[in-house]
Amino acid sequence: MTSNLTSGEQAAAAAVERSAATSQLRFATAGSVDDGKSTLVGRLLHDSKSVLADQLEAVEHASRSRGQEAPDLALLTDGLRAEREQGITIDVAYRYFATPKRRFILADTPGHVQYTRNMVTGASTAELAVVLVDARNGVVEQTRRHAAVAALLRVPHVVLAVNKMDLVEYAEPVFAAIAEEFTTYAASLGVPEITAIPISALAGDNVVTPSANMDWYGGPTVLEHLETVPVGTDPSQDPARFPVQYVIRPQTAEHPDYRGYAGQIASGVLRVGDAVTVLPSGRTSTITGIDALGTLVDVAWASQSVTVTLADDLDISRGDLIAPSDHVPQTTQDVEATVCHLHDRPLRVGDRVLLKHTTRTVKAIVKDIPSRLTLADLSQHPAPGELAANDIGRVVLRTSEPLALDAYDASRRTGSFLLIDPADGTTLTAGMAGDSFAASAQGAESARDDEGWDF
């Protein structure tokens, strides 16, 4: 833009460079209705100076007109008319804020029992989940439910935020007991990492600034932890999976024979020279080129959108999967999975649905629903016949064509799928292939009365 930059401009350009290279953390929040989740989110945004003057002014104005003395930070996040009217959050909202260290995408998910599906939605892309607990109530059924959803969706990091410490006189034993109980429970479900932090969202203790009221606590504040938790996994540990999204064929004078396979690498690493197999056909070839959005590269890895060219002219189309020949996933037409049913229309044995897995959509029949799970105590209800909205259960499906499906615990990207109503396109169900604790959990409560199930 300008050829002669002043030193100030050079410094500004350097700042642009630095801030553009920051990492990104996607996280989700979960909490019961009165645990103060909106206040925590509001506090996080406010104290990290991510709320701008006009937004704060709007909140102050709205708070005053409701007769509240202090600005209600929860109003920062409740965006819809119905939410403001009812004072509750009814849907997942996404919020953005940044610190000099990291950029954050927050899936703000409602905590109300009937919105379990929303926490599942928020957790599906989250690398970290914040589970909120009221220090006065400790670990309750809803807390166990949130821990179970985080475990089921395989969220790598979980933060237990023990809130309202100001109401228990900032007492360490209260916090320690809750942290101990939660950590034991969540670890038993397979949550890989749990960090417990005592906070007061209302007073601001340990959210962004360390609390002067809890000098016994030596750990990070919520924001410090969000800024430093390791993001991403090491893609070199996973076999490569490349679902073909779109075939690029310019057929122009300049590129008469170009045939590129475009997609986002779902897991692992692709290298030029890799011997690959295309599924479901099983044909083989070698990668001759990788175009990373305008830059030719020798290597590309998970979550990069690239275009790949192969040595052989194979018949490959959207929905095919390219995988390294020495790590080819098995294909199957019989899918066993744990699912969360999302829609008010129930999922029944015998239903004919569409199954969307990566870039491939096939027909499927619900052959069996062996069990339904109560997240609160992990008890199983055998052969429920159908799953209602917010139910989590095991499902057996038969598909019209073979799918290259990994287990969800091996890959969140290639182990997940949606069930769709073929009649009107409604998204019915979210699925996670393979085993999970939902398949093996033992419940003594199988004789429990159906009326006791609240979601």
Partner: protein, 312 residues
């Protein structure tokens, strides 16, 4: 000291990390390719503003070396900044694209729309937009909307199903999980697609800087005739400003958003380079819309209400 950490996860993958701009770019490209793979007649809403310019840039990257498999649609309010129209026509010619124009003026001239007493045409865009979607049977319509813009937009999906009236019902949205976007729709319905959902204003500017994307000059500080109305600097024009008691003066200004001239305010600024613009935005205490959009100030739910009617 009480710190409870059950099992430490592996250290992050430094070698294979993506910067946040690369992550956002990859995600947006994935969304463009999903639409190209699953829809019959997609179109990119193109206003000549920075978000739609970034969308076009991403689409060009997503399908290179082939052409972008979508046409562009401009909803022309009739109150455009001339620099923006020139930019639009230039971009269309340079990339060999097809441009559809839906004209608010035509709708006013033939009586299908009536001018509002306040002169703003921004809310009037919805009718010509829906008419163009119906006539051209567009089934996917890309918009540059970002969730950071506004509270109601924070609830918007990446794939947003609209009914035959273009309406958005926040209570009946499809849940969106993982990167699995469901674009199924019935005849008459269409899907609005927002590839920049997870971008913020600062991300957009950082990306423009990194990719060296040209923008219409009004985004950089320049001396311009403006007048004060409702706490904003507006450009005079055929649309009806200034009125009695409003006086035109010359000031150094630039625009943070580009829309209908009647409701898009300029901000006072000395930022003539993109680095200076980024510095200014990073330090700003006002949101993009709070600073520059009159129509969002009409009520607490102005955006939600317009979206319900079919607006972006």
């Amino acid at each position: 000291m009480t710190t409870v950490t059950a099992i430490n996860a592996d250290e992050g993958a430094g070698l294979y990390a993506l910067s946040h701009l690369d992550a956002l770019e990859s995600e947006a490209v994935h969304i463009f390719r999903e639409v190209a793979g699953e829809f019959e007649r997609p179109v990119i809403l193109f206003s000549g503003g920075k978000d739609s310019i970034v969308m076009l840039h991403l689409a060009l990257k997503a399908f290179a070396p082939a052409a972008v498999p979508f046409s562009l649609l401009h909803v022309d309010t009739g109150h455009n900044f001339p620099e923006v129209i020139a930019y639009r026509d230039n971009a269309v010619a340079r990339h060999g694209l097809r441009l559809h124009v839906a004209s608010v003026q035509e709708f006013i001239d033939d009586g299908r729309l009536r001018e509002r007493p306040d002169g703003t045409r921004n809310p009037l865009q919805t009718v010509p937009l829906l008419d163009a979607i119906e006539k051209n049977r567009f089934d996917a319509v890309f918009g540059g909307g970002r969730r950071d813009e506004e509270k109601a937009r924070a609830k918007e999906r990446v794939f947003s199903l609209r009914d035959e009236f273009g309406g958005w019902d926040p209570r009946r949205q499809r849940p969106e999980l993982w990167q699995l976007y469901n674009g199924r729709h019935s005849p008459g319905e269409h899907v609005r697609v927002f590839p920049l959902s997870n971008w913020t204003e600062l991300d957009v500017w950082q990306y423009i800087a990194r990719e060296k994307i040209d923008l219409p000059e009004i985004y950089y500080a320049h001396e311009r005739e403006v007048f004060r109305r409702g706490g904003m600097w507006l450009a005079p024009g055929e649309w009806g400003g200034p009125k009695d008691g409003e006086t035109v003066e010359r000031r150094m200004v630039r625009y943070r958003t580009v829309g209908d001239m009647s409701c898009t305010g300029a901000v006072e600024s000395d930022a003539v380079t993109i680095e200076q613009v980024i510095d200014e935005i990073a330090a700003s205490r006002l949101t993009e819309r709070g600073a520059t959009r009159a129509d969002d100030k009409l009520s607490e739910a102005a955006m939600e209400d317009r979206k319900r009617e079919g607006y972006f």
